[in-house]
């Protein structure tokens, strides 16, 4: 178990980062910190994918010098997934930031809990 953990330290780091990001997104009350948490969480997944998809000593499957053996290349799909994931996470980050701007203009604070209490007081 311990030996496996050391051999796969990249995945272990990815999981720890995922936990940090998840915790931040869930528990922070500051919206910007939440968004940072979101980005850490998503990036941790990409690290995990990249770590899993890479086999040391092999290269991306672009054929040069006529080498066609399967042993020379890595599977390109994880990298493709990472790219798709990045596009998705960029768009949700942008959306979250725009919501944050809206809330800040209205309430002059980034604290989501304070916004909630103020809304209750307004009784809207």
């Amino acid at each position: 178990m311990g030996a496996n953990l050391f051999a796969n330290y990249g995945e272990a780091v990815a999981m720890i980062l995922f936990g940090i990001g998840f915790g931040n997104l869930l528990l922070q009350s500051n919206l910007i910190k939440k968004i940072i948490g979101l980005n850490i969480m998503d990036t941790a997944i990409y690290l995990f994918l990249a770590e899993k998809g890479y086999i040391s000593g092999r290269v991306a499957p672009i054929i040069v010098d006529g080498v066609q053996s399967m042993e020379a290349y890595i599977n390109p799909i994880p990298s493709g997934l990472v790219l798709t994931g990045i596009v998705v996470s960029v768009s949700v980050s942008a959306l979250m930031l725009s919501i944050t701007v809206r809330l800040y203009r209205r309430y002059q604070t980034l604290d989501l809990d304070e916004i909630s209490t103020r809304l209750k007081r307004e009784g809207l």
Binding site: G21, D42, P78, V88, M96, I99, T100, R102, I115
Partner: protein
Amino acid sequence: MDFVQNFPAVSILLCLFGGIISSGLRGKTARYVNRGLLLVVTFLSLCTLCYTLESGEAFVYVMGKFPAPWGNEIRAGMLEAFMAFFFCIIMLLSLEGGKKKLVEEVEEEKVFLYYVLIDLLLASLLALVYTNDLFTAYVFVEINTIAACGLIMIRQNGRTIEAAARYMIMSLLGSGLLLLGICMLYDLTGHLLMSNIKDQAAMLYASGQYRIPLLVTIALMSVGLAIKSALFPFHAWLPDAYGYSTVSSAAILSSLVSKGYIFLLIKIIYRVIGFEVFYDSRIIDVLFAFGLMGMIFGSVSAIRENDVRRMIAFSSVAQIGYIYMGIGMGTQAGMAASVFHILSHAATKSLLFIAAIGLTDVSGGSRKFIDLTGGAYRNKWAGVAFTVGSLSMVGVPLFSGFISKLLFAQAAVQNGTKMLPALIVLGISTVLNAIYFMKTVIRIYTPVEDSAYESVTFKNMKLYGLTLICFIVLNVFLGVSSQPIVDLIERGLTVFS
């Protein structure tokens, strides 16, 4: 290949293009495009449904020219086609019922954006229903989330923006877990297409390798989708999001968006993990337990609520609990009951939202119970519709809610260990439902002398009234002639795996 097999892919693409085109149109034109789109997609789904019913099996449509282990696929069986058809109808009715409110509550120059979002939402729902590729499902889950977030905050006030922020945060937590689950499953099995993953997962399970990673994967995906569909402890965002957004959004969010995720979960159970493997993982018991808790706590919160829209929203939490309870029973009958409840809840909850808005409109826009007194006399059709919805939610015969409760009870009786808790909670929850819904019905039918508010007649709200009648007919239809639909669901679930 038959011509009909193109229809699922075409309907997804049509909706995406509709969304793109609408972003350059004015509000009214965008609305016509949206309605035309909905009608076309409804028709296409109906054709697909007839085709699959006739052939009796599902078909696979290859997107692009790459064959199975590499390419992307769409798979349509009778259950998928029926879901798509039903979702379109509910969406059409919800939009028509809330049209007047939309004009009042959304700035005129932003109305076209609403229809852009609706088109994208429909595209993503259809994709979730039809896709056979797990990563495509993830991407469309995110599109669904973004569109739903826009639907919440298109009506601009502090409450909706805060609700949208909370909705977004919970959804992102859910999709983070889902994505991690998908990535781990990909690492375990080496595939992204659902049918290939299932073969590999069955082999892994039979050989006993990677037992714990497989369990973690199942847990991550289930919890992710449970968070996104607002299963009980994760429902904090729900009442604000449903209670303050414009009424069409509330109806669509509660009846379609959360159901899309649940349908994806059912798909994952049957087509990705495999029913037996999922059942053996005991995650199913966790879903069952949280479903039961949701049934009780959702209803208790609804009883304590003093705002009719928020009350209906809390009732959604309870109903989502019912669906997860059915999934958690771990039998075919429980699953069929859950799928039927998806339909019945979608038909009833959107009816309730649309009817409630009619009642609050004739009560000076107030949503407090005290102001609603006698509302059903001022707007007769809304009153009748609200009563029908309430009776259906409580589970009175003739209406759709009765059938789903009956199916749940039957499924519970067949299940040895889970019978007692399921039946007890079903009973308690029915009583609680009756308390808050009947309280409201009695309140709106309490006559008041010389009311300060004006009444409306059918003539002033023809379209709204017609929508309500359609909803009532749909509800009674589900309740009266449920047998063919239950048969269809059971056949669909067999074809599903």
